[in-house]
Symmetry: C2
Subunit: 465 residues, 2 copies
């Protein structure tokens, strides 16, 4: 629970008087693709950050849809709790519940300056309590250098005031241009790192087709551009003098923007990069194998800042835990499961799923299994999807298109035997006990996190204001 574990943290003792700044870097649709873990894409800045801090190898978003995931990052609440059931923008129009308090708001109550650079995609803006919104996202803008310099300028302007800055890149999200990834032009100060389709690593959820390779090559270029932007940003941080008193967290909102990843709770949709660099850490370049979740990010940052949520806050206790006490461990005990919850992506893309993932199993409860599984519009327009749907017999890795689009009410996968989650053992007698146990854990979690889709959570005669 929040704050309980933090008292053992090395960052709590003897740190009085030192500014406790936070730089949260949120990439858009960046899958678990880093050169330091063996992907063919080149990410020198992120690799360096990992070598200076801790790379979490088993970090998971709690949902694989942009606004829902960011809402969880910024509230410490699952998306079925905080109201952000789907995308925030345009006609989709989902928003946080009115009484949800956000991380920047809580930090601001304690004297922090707060800023966002780039993409917000969470509503209402006022609940996020940013003092400044620099270079708000514009379709097509991938000027990562301008974003880094704007961040540096704002940081320096904070003077002695503690700050919380969120850098929210649009890369490597798809764009509506011919390359699909904003790669049809040079961007200031950053090199164009082009990839040949032959070089790319085919992830487990995609088939090896020329159209897929070409698409991945463009995605890699966007990842490299963002990596160059991270380099500029971290140099700005160093130049400001705050590298040694700023917690730096790098992560992505959801999985790579390819069929079978983004917008799915299967592993490739939610298994994402998480790098944490904390000044004062005694060990650098660690690989931490704890199973951690995006619901742990707000508690971590609050812990770092020494800030607690308001005591009367309706949503306490926050379901996540600070990562600081385990930051310098490799295999901490008690970090062996994560939950995930999907309801909508776009407003007309409804496919509610609740999930529990342990070391050994992943379990999915699909609440409306008669529905066809929707595919995010940008992914549906991708060269990869076109290649897959026009190549007879093409599969999403090992998964058939039919199995992807038509799922049963329950899915259970033995991750030892079947890490790609394609052989559903929910109907097997041999797994009956495991299934029963996971069902009960899921039901308990849905109730304690006030899942509106769980019977008994809402009151039909409550006030309507």
């Amino acid at each position: 629970m929040l704050a309980g574990d933090a008292f053992a943290s090395p960052w709590r003792d003897g740190q009085s008087g030192k500014r406790r700044n936070v730089l949260l870097i949120v990439a858009d649709d960046h899958g678990y693709d880093l050169s330091c873990i063996g992907t063919a894409v080149r990410t020198p800045a992120l690799d360096r950050l990992a070598s200076e801090g801790t790379l979490f190898t088993d970090a998971y978003a709690s949902v694989s849809s942009c606004s829902s995931s960011r809402a969880t990052l910024y509230t410490g609440l699952y998306s079925h709790t905080n109201g952000m059931y789907g995308l925030a923008h345009d006609v989709h129009n989902f928003s946080l519940l009115e009484d949800v308090k956000t991380l920047p708001w809580m930090l601001k109550q304690h004297g922090y300056g707060t800023a966002l650079v780039g993409k917000l995609h969470v509503k209402p803006e006022a609940q996020l309590a940013y003092d400044a919104w620099l270079l708000p996202e514009r379709a097509g803008n991938r000027d990562v250098a301008a974003m880094g310099h704007a961040a540096g300028q704002w940081i320096r302007a904070q003077g002695d005031k503690p700050f919380f800055l969120t850098m929210a890149y649009s890369d490597p999200h798809r764009a509506g241009d011919a390359s699909q990834f904003g790669n049809t032009r040079d961007w200031p100060e950053v090199p164009r790192v082009r990839y040949h389709p032959d070089e790319v690593t085919i992830p487990s959820h995609l088939p090896d087709l020329p159209g897929v390779r070409e698409d991945l090559a463009q995605y890699y270029e966007a990842v490299s551009r963002m990596d160059s932007g991270v380099d500029i940003l971290l140099r700005e941080l160093a130049a400001s003098g705050h590298a040694d008193d700023t917690l730096v967290i790098y992560l992505s909102d959801n999985g790579r923007p390819f069929p079978g990843a983004k917008d799915n709770l299967y592993r490739e949709g939610i298994h994402l990069p998480l790098i944490v660099r904390a000044p004062g850490a005694r060990h650098r370049g660690l690989r931490n194998h704890a199973m951690v979740s995006w619901i742990d990010i707000t508690p971590t940052i609050l812990d770092w800042a020494g800030v607690a949520p308001p005591s009367e806050y309706r949503y306490l206790p926050l379901p996540g835990r600070s990562l600081l006490p385990i930051l310098e461990q490799q295999k901490p005990s008690g970090w062996d499961e994560v939950f995930a919850t999907h309801s909508f992506h776009e407003i007309d893309q409804y496919y509610p799923t609740r999930s529990l993932r342990t070391r050994r199993y992943s379990y999915f409860m699909n609440l409306q299994p008669s529905l066809r599984v929707p595919i995010a519009s940008d992914v549906a327009l991708s060269p990869s999807w076109k290649a897959i749907t026009t190549t007879p017999g093409a599969r999403l890795g090992k998964r058939t298109l039919d199995a992807f689009e038509h799922r049963p009410a329950e899915e259970l996968y033995d991750l030892d035997a079947d890490p790609d989650e394609v052989v559903n053992v929910a109907g097997d007698a041999a797994h009956a006990k495991v299934l029963d146990d996971l069902r009960r854990q899921l039901a308990h979690w849905r109730t304690t996190t006030r899942d509106p889709w769980m019977a008994g959570v809402t009151n039909p005669f409550g006030p309507t204001r």
Copy 2:
């Protein structure tokens, strides 16, 4: 189209200088149940209002869910256009799109005082631009006298300023008490009008069972209470001196709160009372048979007030028309069809349907027909539903429970032969041409009203702010 027809209106000529006030009375879940049209419930005040104005016999909400319907009343836009796809309150959390301008906001720009008494159930509150929100709805509050007096006090306080007041009763919506309808106590100044189950009129969508009769009797008591409240309100209006310069509109948000009505686009869900009393009318006590819709209410009030929406408003032209030019006619031509659109009720009650109703036919396109049709939670807890589901062979009028819960992708009803909409002729060759024509009209309407569920309406690469 808005304003075009109004130039023929008797209320436009020679009315300069006269205050153009508006009193909009919105009942909660009041079906087409008035003594003056033959229902057993006694509604003397509403009957009197009808005798002083025009009763529309073929008036329809464009959706049968509370927040969605109110959002349409207050914007002149269909709910799939204005963002209010389902209920606004609590965890359901639907809200208007940010750039939607509301009726009270538009009137306020032109110098009107605006107030709401009672229930809002539309978000965000600020977009409604009420100067005052009197006696905001509290669960269980049915003090219609207090509401009427508060309205009178506010009206008198407006002095010479033109005003727009919305009276939004909680009656006859179900309450969470033993009577189901707030009938377990006396309410100030209004008599308790009790009904015997033997007296009630069984509507076409319900079976004649004791539990249903008892439930209707309680509903009638709530309708009578509200009618007494309307009497007090109209006396307050008269006492203020504004009876002769105030347009009075009485209507309900959606159908009666019984299985097969509220929350359905079948006739009994959306065919509702509409009474309009306009000072200066030469004919009183008229029955007007135009097919009109709740999308026509905002244009009507704007016409009365002589106010146009902002010229650059993105959602022009408004889809509805002012009723003033036809107010004193009985069978005006060109008013022979209405559209309706349902997406959600509660957040976990998804059943999107689009509908077109003409004099002769009703057509329904169920967008996700594999889903079981949800039932609103308050209706699910009703004595009527309990009676129906525990009586073998009980039907929703002529409709079987199975047909109610499992509907095909398309429904077409010949309203001459089958006014209760139970014999689906969508598959009949004899109706193929009609079906094709209605499909095309529906598709055209969905496109022009920017239905997000229609392919091609949303842009996956648009900005996300």
